[in-house]
Every structure is written in C-alpha cells, then in structure tokens.
C-alpha cells in the first residue's frame, strides 16, 4: 500500500470514499474545485493539490468521483493531466457517467498510453465510509488487477463486467433506473394505501421485511413512508441526470424503455416545480400531489 493515489472530486461520496482509502493506509493527494471541501481529508493525512494535473504521478493511479460527464471531461482535458498520467498510468473513474463518455475516455487515454478503468459504485456516503459499496468494474485486465486492492478497500464485493470500460457504466445506469422505478412503485402504492386510511409505514414495513427484504426497499421505503426528503442523500436533480443517462444509452441501443420515460417525466415535473435539491426519493411528493394529498 505504498502507492500514492491521486483523488479528484470531494463531494459527499468522494469524501467518504477518500476517507476510507486513507483509513486503509493509502497515501493520497487530492483535488477539488471547491478547495474548502478538502479540509477534513487533510486532517486524515491527505495532501492538497491546486490543479487536477498536480494529483497525477506518472504511471500512477488517479481516482475521479464527480457529478456528471462534463466535469469528468473537464478534468481529463486539464493541462497536463493525460500527458503526465502517461505510460502505464491508470485512471480509475468511479463517477456515474454515460457509457458513451466512457467509450470516448477509453480511446482518449489509450492514445496517451494510459488505461481508463470504469468502476461506478452503488451505495450512499454512509456505505462508502463503512467500505460497503457495491463496485462494478470494467476495463483492461492488467489495470483492473492493479486497482483491485483499492476497490476492495471501498466495497467487499467487486463485480467484473469485462474488458470494455463502458459496460460497467451500462450496468450502473441500469441499476439506478431500477432504483428509481422501485421508488415510483413504492410511492404510488403508498399513496393508494394512505387514501384508504392504512398506515404507510405498516404497509412498506411488511413488504420490506418479506418479499422485498432488500436495502433499496428498506431505506427508501422508510423515507417515502415518512415523507422525509431532506436533507438529500442524492439530489433529485441528479436523479434526473441519471434517468437521462439511461435514456441516452437506450436511444443508442434502440431500446424503448417506457418505465424510464415515465420516470423522466416524473423527475422533470418535480424539478420544474422547484424541488431539484431534495432527495431523489422526493419524487413521491409529486405522486401525493397528483392524488390531491
């Protein structure tokens, strides 16, 4: 664990992940656009970079965890980033971005002799802090092997989806779509039970202890039952972004996805009504309103 990792992107998730890596013994140099967010990490032993390329060690490993495709592109396009990463460098990209961006990134890194590995994760910041993320990885085998200890320090379970980086992103956007679909289904059902004077929590507790006994139903089910959408663990406006990622992927793959289309309109309605900053489970609020509640 002597290798120094470069880390870019210290939002809620990035900070929790970087913290877990420091705890696991990695040394780290970190960069964030908003410098203030980096301070807690410095206390844990990280050093601070003032520009993206500064976190890069030639032939080393850089992890990025940013909010959207554009942010990732900006980092990679930063002065000296790709040049410095150079031969044998590995860019471990853990953000939720589109498969199309992953494809473009893979080619771009290959041109500079480095390897782009996609490793998007499922889990919220608390899971990241507990090293309990679910990691989906794809990319060239040698690079994947090299980053394996890092991934294991973030989540016990690492799922490999082959040599093509973009495939991990296809899996990730599909998984996020399934989470959003589960939230919509729960919220529609809870609206119906509520209008029939049945307790929302009693309803979802029964299901999430039995046939739907899984974290998604337990955690989001509780939030939706209690109509508690603040503070946001994952902002609704980012949920809209994720639904657009799955719809864009479906467009290129010629797959009609009517549930995803409906979810798009659900998220958009909530964003248009000014609720982009609540938790994405807050789409349930729009569902209650539509029923006159």
């Amino acid at each position: 664990m002597s290798e120094r990792i470069g880390f870019i992107g210290l939002g809620h998730m990035g900070s929790a992940m970087a913290g877990s890596l420091l705890k696991a013994g990695y040394s780290m140099i970190a960069y964030n656009r908003t410098a203030a967010k980096i301070e807690p990490l410095l206390a844990q032993g990280a050093s601070q970079a003032s520009q993206p390329a500064e976190v890069v060690t030639p032939g080393g490993i850089v992890i990025t965890m940013v909010a959207h495709d554009r942010a990732l592109e900006t980092i990679v396009a930063a002065d000296g980033f790709l040049e410095k990463l150079g031969q044998n460098g590995v860019h471990l990209s853990m953000s939720t971005v589109s498969p199309a961006t992953a494809r473009a990134m893979s080619e771009l890194h290959a041109k500079h002799g480095s390897t782009y590995v996609a490793a998007p994760v499922f889990g919220r910041p608390d899971a990241a802090a507990l090293q309990k993320l679910v990691v989906c990885v794809a990319g060239a085998s040698a690079a994947k092997e090299r980053v394996q200890p890092i991934l294991r320090a973030l989540g016990q379970t690492v799922f490999d989806f082959g040599e093509e980086a973009a495939m991990a992103n296809v899996v990730k956007v599909c998984g996020n779509f399934m989470i959003a679909a589960a939230m919509e289904a729960m919220a529609e059902a809870m609206t119906l039970v509520e209008k029939n004077q049945i307790d929302r929590s009693a309803f979802i507790d029964m299901l999430s202890q039995t046939i739907f006994a899984a974290p998604i139903y337990q955690n989001y089910g509780k939030m939706i039952a209690e109509k508690r959408y603040m503070p946001a663990g994952f902002e609704l406006v980012l949920g809209l972004k994720d639904i657009n990622l799955v719809l864009d992927t479906a467009e290129q793959s010629k797959v009609p996805m009517p549930f995803a289309s409906l979810l798009h309109d659900r998220f958009m309605t909530n964003v248009a009504k000014g609720r982009g900053d609540i938790d994405w489970s807050g789409i349930a609020q729009g569902i209650s309103e539509d029923a006159g509640l």
Copy 2:
C-alpha cells in the same frame, strides 16, 4: 386443532395450502369445482364435498382460495352456504380479490351473523407447501384471533391491517402491483444490457445479491434473465386481473397510478398476442420484442 376446516378452491395455491393445514393436524372437508384436483388431498386425509355448502360446519371455519371475485361470489351465493355458516361462523377468504368485493362480502356475512376475514397471501405454491407464506389479515378481532393458529400454519409471519377486511385486500393488490413493477423494471434493464452484449444473468445476479437482495428480484430475476416463462407459476392473464384490481381500487380512491396504467397495457399486449397462459414474468417477452430482439 380438533376443529374441522372447510376448504374451497384447490388450484395450485389452494392445494398446497390445504396440504400444509393437513400436515399441521387439521381435519378438513374440501370442495373444488373440478373434482379431480381434490384427489391428492384425500390421500392426505381430507374428505370430499360435492357442493360448497357441504364443507360448512355451523359456526365453523371455511377457507376459500379461488381465482377471482366472481368465483368467490358464486361460492357465497351457493345454496345454503351463508345460512349454514350462520351465527359465529368465520369465512377466511384468502384469495386475491378487490377491496370492493371484500367490503360487500363483509356486509353480506354480517347480515347472516357470520364474520368475513380477509387474509390474502404473498408467495407461490412452493412457499405454501413449506408454510412460508406471507399473510396479510384484516377483519373483526375475535375472528382474527380464532383463525390465528391456521394462519400461523401457513406462514410464520402474519401482518394485521385492522378491523376492516377490505384493508388486507388493498395491501395485497398494492403488493402485487409492486411485484409487477419490479418485473417490468428488470426486464427493461435486462433488454438494454443484452443489447450491449452484457450477460443478463451476470447483471441481475449482481443486483439481486446486493442492493436488491430480496426474493422477488432473485426469483423473477432468474426467470427473466433466462427467458424461461413456462411452466407458469402464476399465469400472465391472472397478472392482468391483478393489475385491474389495483386500477379499480385506485379509481375509487381517486389516485392516478401511471406505473400501474403502463403495466396494464404491457399485460394486455401480451394477452392480446396470445400469451395469457405463460408465467406473468413473461411480460418480459413483449419488452424484448419491442426492442427488436
């Protein structure tokens, strides 16, 4: 456990449930429209009735497990059924029927001095045989207490939704809606991963071991991944019936449920194409077709 139970409705589910009750030591007289289906139960010690009312012991307990509201209404309207059940009798209705029917049934039984208890279940025949059903019960307290040992013999977990029988049915139709929604979401996602050359099973295995680690995703996920919709555990045409139950309930409660509407059209398309007799997870076949697979 000396009480003799009357049991009506010996389809896949009913037979498995009746078998579990016999195993638990109950004595039983059973009726089924198609008499042949009753034979395996006779071997287990049940006796056979030739008419619905014949299973009724005055003041006793009758369990019904039939395919739809109409079948339930026909039984209750049969000559002598309500009259014989009479004072103190309990009709334990375990079928998936509409809350509206449950409401009407409650009133009708009350007029004859008996009690209608709704106790619809989640689980397929194999769960019924293993006494592992999830039971949702609602109705008058005294009657619920009386049937409690019976319910425990069918499922370890019994969830109580109050004094009004119809409420258990609201919960049940909402749960079935959520199962159908999960299947649609899985099938859309798997279609997208398949078109990107990712293995359907690898995708759903990852999710159903982690954030979606629940029976619904594990069992239906496997069927959908393998495109194995025969033999039917629960027929697609009955799935359409269940979606209509939730839509009817939503209509009366003034709740728009766009996912349920979409599921309705999905089920209807598959029924219109002549696939009403495959498993209801077979809606996934229509999703594949729409993507040109």
Copy 3:
C-alpha cells in the same frame, strides 16, 4: 311530424336537442329527474311527465339523453317503461354510454318487442340548438328509418354504423378519446411554447387555420390558449367517465391503448385535485402546473 315524442333527460345537451325538435314541429312530452329544468321547454310547447314511463306512447318513440350508463339503466328499469313501449316502440338512445350497456339494452328491449337504436352525437349544446350535431346511428334498419327525420332535425349529417346498436357507441367513445388526445397534445405543446416566450394563441391560431383547421382544434385550442376553463361546456369529471368508457371497451376487445391510459391518469389527477367541475379542456391546467407554471 304528427308523432308525439317522449323525451327524457334535460341537461344542457338534452334541453338544446329537445328545443330543436320542438322548433322542427314535433310535439313532445318530457321528463327530467330535476323537474325545474323542464320549464323552458314547456314555454316552447312541450308537456311534462312526472315519471319516466309517462312519456311513453305504446309503439311510439322515446328519446333519452342522460349523463351515464346508470341513469339510462334506471330509466329503462322504471315501472312500466318497457312494458308500455311494447310492440313496435323505439327507444332512441342518444347518450354516451358504453357499448356493453348498449348491447344489454338491445337484448332487453328485444325481449319486450321494442327496438333500441343507439344514436350518440358529437357537438356541444350550441351545436344542438343550431341543429348541427354530428349523429352516429346504429340499430335495426326499420327503426333507423323511422327515426331518420328526427335525427335530421338534430344534425345535417347522420352516419350509419350498421345493425348492431353498440357499434355507434364504440364509434362515439373512440371519437371522444380522440378529442381528449387532441386537447392533451395541444396543451403540452402550448406549455412548451409558453415557456419559450411564444404567445400561446399565436401558436395555436397558426395551426388551427392550416394543417389542423378543424372545429376541435379551433374551439378547444382557443380555450386552452386563453386558459379559460369556466363555465364548463362539458365537465372534466364527465371526461373521466368517457375515458373510462373507452378503456372498458378496449379491455373487452383486448386492445392496449397507451394514450387512453395516460389520459385517464391526467383526468384523474385533475379530479383528485378538486377540478372535476371545470371544462374538460381544463386538463391543460394540470399540464401547466407540472411544468412549474
């Protein structure tokens, strides 16, 4: 024109239609549940009945124009109605009811020797007053021939859909569905142009003078452009009823109709929000709200 017509149902449409028939020289005896509504007709020469059966002349013609299937069934079930209509009587049913009800009505009348002719109309009360309704008729030929002068007094154009009464109702519910679909499409488009600072009226005027130069687009387009949904020409809650009629017909015919499903949820949302009494074009208000306007 010597024949005296019985007329039942004097809402906005019924009154305008009855007035046109009086103007055309028919003598009339009319019944309405709320007697007060009949007064303007009395001034025009109609006489008043105090019960449904009282408007019936044996072997004569009775016209009904009521709000829903239930109202029609109640009239026909009224004491003496069918018995008095008897041999050679014609029930000219002009309400928008379900094909299933029309089918049941046809059989019921046939048993009493009379004929049920379905003749639902397109057009609002002002068109009825101007004898400009569009009439769709179906039923036994002899009866259709007999009522032809009556239909011509209500609308210049009468379209014949064959011998089976229910077919006129299939056509009518499909037509109403198409109107609702046009309104939804206009409202979505106008919401988008409004958010781009384009005048809603300028937009719809252009289209409704050119490629969409038809009454539906001109009339409803103007209302939606001006967001003027009161007073109601046709109440939103009746629009929901009509969408349910088309969905019920589709269910029996095994036809998935996703636009109709979506319209159902749109109408239901507006009803749930307490807007059942505005004009049905007022579904546009829900569309504006969803866009944050």
Copy 4:
C-alpha cells in the same frame, strides 16, 4: 425577382421547393451532396454547384433544406461558406432543426455579418410543388422582409414568430409533435373499431369530415385506415428524430411532455423492429401488432 438564390439540399422537399421557386421566376444555383438528384432542376433552368460555398453570392440569399441538425452544421462549416455570405447575406434555413441549433447558428452568422432566418415549413412535397406550404418564420426584421417574396412563392400563408430565429423552430417541432400525437390517437382508435368489426375507413371518414375536418386527419387518416405506409412521404426514422427534437427542447425548457415520451417509445419500437424506412404514419403498425392483429 432578378436575385439569384443559392439552394442547398435537394431531397423530396428541397427539390419540390426549388422547383416552385424556379417556376416563380427565380434564378438559382443549387448544390446537393448526391449530385444526381439535382438533374431535374437543371432541366428547369437551375445551374449546378459542386461545393456548398459555390452557391453563395456575397451579400446574397442562400436557402438550405436538409434532413437534420448535423447536415446543416456541416454546410455552414464548409470552406468559405460564412466568409463568402458575409456582410448583408441571408441564410434562409427551412429545415426542421432544433431551437438550440438555430440559436447557435444565429450567433455564428452574426459574427460574420450575415443573418440567419429560420423558416421551417409544414406540408409534404406535393404541397411544396403547389406552393401551398405553411411557413413559420422568425429572425431579424430586415432580413425577413427581404425573403418575404420567396416565402410567398412557397406558401400563401406566412406566420411570423418574432425576431429570434429559434422561435420558429420551437413552433415547428411542437407542430410535428401534434401531428404525431394525432396519428397515434387515430391508430389506437382505429384498432379498437377494427376489433369491433367496424370499418376503419368508415370511422375515420366520419370524423375527418366533421369535428376533425383538417388535412392531418384526412390525409394520415386515410393512410392509417388503409394500412398503406409505403412509399414513405416522410420516413418513420425522421419522425423519431423530430420527436427527439421536441423532447430535447422540452428538456431545456423544463417541461414534462408525457405524450411526447410515449410517442418516442412508439417510434423507437418501430425503428427497433426494422421499420425505420416506412412512412411515419406506420407507427400504426406497431399499434395493430400490440392488439394481436
């Protein structure tokens, strides 16, 4: 009419439009990527350019009529195009492109001293040949005045949507969405009448002579009634492009458009099934299939 017009894009629509302008007395130099398509125009007096910039007269007028945003961008980026158009030149862009592209184009032309006028049209090639297009124009007033005679030679009715070019494109994409919505509604309704043994043509003829007496319903109604989707007047795959244009515009404007989302999935299903080259009214074929016809 002495001014020589440059014309780029000679597909079905472009050729018909160019022909109308030649008939109206304009002189013309034309360019098309596939040179063969230009020949009929040469016979009518046009001269031929071998590159986009060659059609440009400094300070003159260039009309473009191409299939999508990318094609338009390629032309404008061609060597010398903008430089030659220069001061006082007018680019009259009649293609259906996105408002976002129109916005970018307006800025780009302004930088080179020329003016970008958007004038997308409604109507099919036969309307273009008869000078009966419906033209929606937007852009700087002086330039609009200058091109007015040209627009009048293509359509008797020209509708002005202000100074900002992109607004004409917003109107155009909304109009195309409304056409697609009308086709879907007609097709769903006709599927239902067909399954009830009613003649599709009789049904739509009635409506398109009365409350829907407009070209869209008459022309597309006939095609859909007769299930005649070849040859394509406007290809289904271009219909998908247009739905995506309206969805992209809605995304930027934060407007949920559920009908448009549903239409997207309808078009995508038909494209995925290999029917991208039939007429866009052919979405009706998917609707028939879903009903098992």
